[in-house]
């Protein structure tokens, strides 16, 4: 398995059967279940889903970064290929080993650039910290590296910004700093948890373009957690759609948008304003089209339905849907779907 020849063919990250449950006062909550995906080096996988669908929990589990207050039960495997070619299971690593990986080989960009920088440390000090930690550089060399990183993320007057505090920077600038921070040690896997959600649309586009450029230059693998399908269409190679803690559909990005197979994905795409226009908007009069919505709401994680989690909201529900959770089955075109309908089409 460690043979160098096969290294290129191995996925950078392969997650198998990840499940995460939290013990809460109201009972055990299965936050993520049966999540499997794999990411080839240099690829971008978008993990899509609404709030509470388990996408952030999935990314935090890979980093071993659950809130210290939460009692998380994590099961499954996450095989990560390190720089030196060794393949390790992230979920089985001791904390000390994970700490060596974090910020070094696996980095993370968070959603809120306003609070993810320490207000009392200068931007330069914060970037330098990571480099000093993982590369053992001295203060001067680390600050030089920090400056280099600020230039890389296209921050003007980098030398001057180095000595500034986060409150002196705009939201877009702060997110650039966060990216510089994450990229400082040249990670091979970057997890971006809704990196543009808190930014306005023009800044979003700039940040996404920047991340795309950096990815191309460094060849890093990008796990992109988002609920923004427009962003997904533009930047992802592969998409995995999550609903109620499970992947319901996974496909290459073109296939997913051209021909969604799972009713939830179909519903999500129908909700997009652009899509409503294409469909001719059957719900409203001429001129203005009403946006579609998926009826109902996500079932409580404390009392999940016995069958398909999306069943209660699905217009194409079958009797069998309420019996048992459909499995995630492979379909032609390198895609997978967790829906009986799509399974039938294949076997028919």
């Amino acid at each position: 398995m460690n043979a160098p020849a096969s290294q290129e063919a191995l996925p950078r990250l392969e997650v198998r059967n990840l499940s995460v449950a939290f013990g809460t006062a109201e009972g055990r909550v299965q936050s993520v279940a049966e999540v499997s995906f794999s990411m080839a080096p240099g690829q971008t996988l978008a993990l899509v889903g609404e709030s509470g669908s388990g996408k952030s929990v999935t990314s935090l589990s890979l980093m071993g970064l659950h809130a210290r207050s939460a009692r998380a039960e994590v099961a499954g495997e996450a095989w990560f290929v390190r720089r030196d070619g060794r393949r390790i299971d992230l979920l089985a690593q001791p904390e000390s080993e994970l700490r060596r990986l974090r910020g070094n080989e696996i980095a993370m960009v968070f959603q809120e650039p306003m609070t993810s920088l320490n207000p009392v440390l200068t931007v330069g000090e914060q970037i330098a910290e990571s480099v000093r930690l993982h590369r053992g550089l001295d203060r001067r060399a680390a600050l030089a590296r920090a400056r280099e990183m600020l230039e890389l993320v296209e921050i003007p007057a980098a030398a001057q910004r180095l000595g500034e505090y986060p409150h002196q920077l705009s939201g877009g600038m702060r997110q650039r700093v966060m990216i510089a921070l994450a990229m400082a040690c040249e990670p091979s896997l970057l997890i971006a948890d809704e990196p543009t959600t808190a930014l306005d649309v023009t800044i979003q586009a700039q940040i996404l373009a920047l991340m795309g450029r950096l990815q191309k230059e460094t060849g890093m693998t990008l796990l992109f957690v988002t609920h923004n399908l427009g962003v997904v269409a533009q930047y992802a190679d592969q998409v995995a759609v999550m609903y109620a803690g499970r992947i319901v559909e996974a496909a290459p990005v073109h296939g997913l948008f051209a021909e969604p197979r799972h009713p939830y994905t179909q519903g999500l795409l129908a909700c997009l304003p652009g899509m409503a226009r294409h469909q001719g908007g059957d719900a409203a009069g001429p001129g203005r089209k009403r946006l579609r919505a998926i009826p109902g709401q996500v079932s409580s994680p404390l009392a999940p339905p016995p069958g398909c989690a999306f069943g209660p909201r699905c217009a194409q529900r079958l009797a069998a849907c309420e019996q048992a959770m459909p499995e995630l089955r492979s379909l032609p075109g390198q895609r997978q779907s967790r829906c009986l309908l799509s399974h039938e089409e294949v076997s028919a």
Partner: protein, 280 residues
Amino acid sequence: MNPTWKILRRLFARRVVLAATLLLLAVVVVAVLVPWLSSADPSAMDISARLHKPSGEHWAGTDELGRDVALRIVHGARYSLLIGGVTSVGAVLLGTLLGLLAGYFRRLDAPLMRLVDAMMSFPDILLGIALVAILGPSLWNVVLALVIVYTPRVARVVRAATLVLRELLFVDAARALGVRTPWILWRHILPNLASPILVQLTFIFAYAILCEAGLSFLGVGVPPEIPTWGTMIAGSLDYADRALWVILYPGLAIVLTALSLQILGDGVRDLLDPKLRKAA
């Protein structure tokens, strides 16, 4: 403009804060320099000059043993400031450590904070009396007792602030960079605690001076031969009906110093509170 200068200007925008600071500076300077300014012994008795009124020779009069009250106040400032300073620094160090641990590590929270609650359920002066009674009356035992009295107060404040800080994303971001927990506490949490700690420092300085005076007045504080402001009042109280100055001037010294510290503490708090900053 120089940032330090800017901060000072904001702090002293209120004249009363400036006045308090100048007064404190004067007290500190006099207390530090007095051994070089005058070789007179504050404990030198002159029985022929008992309870003299304030005059050109004795600015604040003399006490029942003919000792110069003004000279004793100045020397007393050395002890009172020493007690207040060491107590506040000690209580802040210990309280910050406890508060940080209790706030960051949830397992330690309940045991540490119940201990703190138990300590805080005693009135300051009562706890002080009890501790000095156990430790025995000496200058350093009084300081130790006062540190124990005021540590819980700091621990509470620091714990509350830490509880807020630990949930902020930059702590998670630091963990995501592979930073070790002790370094997160030292480098990421502690600097953010600077303002509440600084405010506590000035308040406890004032409380400690007051409490020491109270303990000495009750006879369980610093031994009477050491001239602190508290021991001066306690020693001369019996003569106050005939010679008010023997307690008036040390009392004024206590009131003005403690008040100035409180005002300065308020000023620092207002300066560091972002909610009040915009109004200023």
